[in-house]
């Protein structure tokens, strides 16, 4: 399942490869469901010896994704895309389990229609976007972005969405609006991680995130509704999520139901959990290590098995310094990590 994408024109021709990858993903998820979360053993009896916590159900049916119409990415993005099967099977989305394969295995029956994304707070034009509005209110475009996880792995993802700035303009923030406070759906019935502390990693739900308003207005900040030409699958944050490519992945909040414009800096989930490890800004920065691991380099997840791994240097602002460094001029990024 090698997807070689050397030029951007090639990524547009995804229909045939997509189907193949899509079917392989089906297999992959089935296998993972059968084998269990951390357990890679084929018989449950021996799984008991080495992995006492491996237990998972096979998803009944895969979540249905729809094709999207959008303007394809124009720029010359030279890096190889991460295959769709990997983007959709390696996720940090603790609402559906803390292990990487759990979100794909435990989220396939997630309901996204009806959906309500409520924009409120310090705005002249509060609005609520329903499920269909997410795809029709703004022109959709493809953006190929690097995604750098705070755990020091990275992917290259062909997102589809619209600029957060467009949404901000539509809401018409008042002069008191200094920050945006984002919130993920809270629905313990559908999200097993919100029911169980063990599955959900001890986080206080709902997950919340925030941006300064000038960060939100930066053209790179994206509200994504799809990837690889289709609507988002639940494990990637269906139906709508934030993507801020110059920040660590945990800033890019998933399955958003609320964006509130506020005057004071809003609380953010990982900062609440461990303030010395995760700051509000969370800009990708190779010079400032996580207290427990180095951020100087990262493993890029592309195709292939264990021998096809690729360790590359991490770039300041994840390589988007030209577009975003001005936002932080004069700030001590060691202090405001």
């Amino acid at each position: 399942m090698i997807i070689k994408t050397t030029s951007v024109s090639e990524c547009k021709e995804h229909t045939i490869t997509d189907e193949n990858v899509y079917h392989q993903r089906r297999e992959l998820i089935k296998k993972m469901g059968f084998l269990g979360a951390a357990s890679l053993l084929s018989s449950p009896a021996s799984a008991g010896i080495l992995d006492i916590f491996g237990e998972e159900k096979t998803p009944e049916a895969l979540f249905a994704q729809n094709n999207l119409s959008y303007a394809a990415e124009k720029g010359g993005f030279a890096e190889e895309l991460t295959p769709e099967a990997k983007i959709t099977s390696h996720n940090n989305f603790y609402e559906f389990g803390v292990e990487k394969q759990q979100p794909a295995a435990l989220s396939q029956s997630f309901k996204v229609d009806p959906w309500q994304l409520k924009i409120s707070g310090e705005v002249e034009n509060p609005l609520t976007l329903g499920y269909d509005d997410l795809y029709s209110s703004f022109d959709l475009e493809e953006r190929i972005y690097r995604l750098r996880c705070v755990e020091a792995w990275s992917m290259v993802v062909p997102w589809i969405g619209f600029s957060l700035a467009e949404l901000v303009k539509k809401a018409k923030p008042t002069s008191r609006a200094k920050y945006l406070a984002f919130e993920t759906l809270y629905d313990p019935v559908q999200m097993p991680g919100q029911r169980s502390r063990r599955l959900g990693g001890g986080i206080d739900y709902p997950y919340v995130e925030g941006l300064r308003i000038d960060e939100a207005m930066n053209p790179l900040a994206l509200m994504s509704v799809g990837l690889y030409g289709k609507t988002l699958p639940p494990q990637n944050g269906a139906p709508i999520r934030l993507v801020v490519p110059w920040k660590y992945g945990f800033k890019s909040i998933k399955s958003v139901v609320g964006i509130k414009f506020v005057e004071k800096k809003p609380p953010t989930t990982w900062n609440l959990l461990a303030a010395n490890e995760y700051g509000f800004y969370a800009n990708v920065n190779p010079a400032v290590d996580h207290p427990r691991w180095s951020q100087a380099s990262e493993r890029r997840i592309t195709t292939g098995g264990i021998f096809a791994q690729n360790r590359i240097p991490t770039l300041p602002f994840n390589g988007y310094g030209e577009q975003v460094a001005d936002l932080y001029s004069g700030m001590n990024l060691r202090k405001y990590y």
């Binding site: 021996s46 380099s297 791994q309």
Partner: protein, 205 residues
């Protein structure tokens, strides 16, 4: 309720233990090389071998209490091989980190070992495990006499370091590490008299 196992069946049981310990490992690397371990095979092999090593260390600590309590003396004949498999899994865990995570960047490897407390702790456990693995050879064991037992009591420390390493490595999901702490406490509880004896000896000096 002493259960005795005939001399003849021991080799078969040992073969079974070898299979139970080796098959998951071979299966793991087969999956890792052929890209069947989900999005990130590196994380998968590191986690699997790490938790496997920890489980095997704890199993090795369960053997003598079980053998004593239920008079299952034949179990003692499996302790060394289980300990050696704990070492094998630990070795794989460490090599996975060196080969696949930092990808032979020896400087980064050394930096990580010394700068990150949880890796320092894990590496300490592994170094102690090497000493136990080497001295598991019968000839050395005989030569060491009483000191052998003293050295191998370090298993208690290794298990503790391994649990701390696990607890410290996770982002927020601490329930599993806490369960491991509880299991460790229970295993030490079985050795209450021995540990109290050490304490008394220490304070009577």
């Amino acid at each position: 309720m002493a259960i005795t196992v005939s001399q003849k069946s021991i080799p078969y049981l040992k073969a079974l233990v070898h299979l139970a310990a080796l098959y998951p490992l071979l299966n793991l690397y087969y999956g890792a090389v052929t890209d069947q371990l989900g999005g990130d095979p590196v994380e998968a092999v590191i986690h699997f071998t790490g938790i496997g090593a920890l489980n095997l260390v704890l199993i090795s600590l369960l053997i003598s209490p079980l053998a004593k309590r239920f008079k299952l003396s034949f179990l003692m004949r499996f302790r060394r091989m289980i300990g050696l498999y704990a070492f094998t899994y630990g070795l794989c865990h460490m090599l996975n980190f060196l080969f696949f995570e930092v990808q032979f960047d020896v400087r980064l490897f050394i930096e990580e070992v010394f700068e990150r407390p949880y890796i320092t702790v894990g590496m300490s456990a592994f170094l102690l495990l090497i000493a136990l693995a080497v001295t598991s050879i019968t000839k050395l064991r005989r030569k060491m006499k009483g000191r052998w037992q003293t050295l191998h009591n370090f298993t208690y420390l290794i298990a503790l370091l391994a649990v701390i390493h696990f607890y410290w490595s996770v982002k927020s999901e601490i329930i599993e590490p806490l369960i491991y702490f509880a299991m460790y406490a229970a295993l030490m509880g079985f050795r209450y008299k021995k540990l109290r004896g050490w304490k008394d000896k220490l304070f009577s000096r």
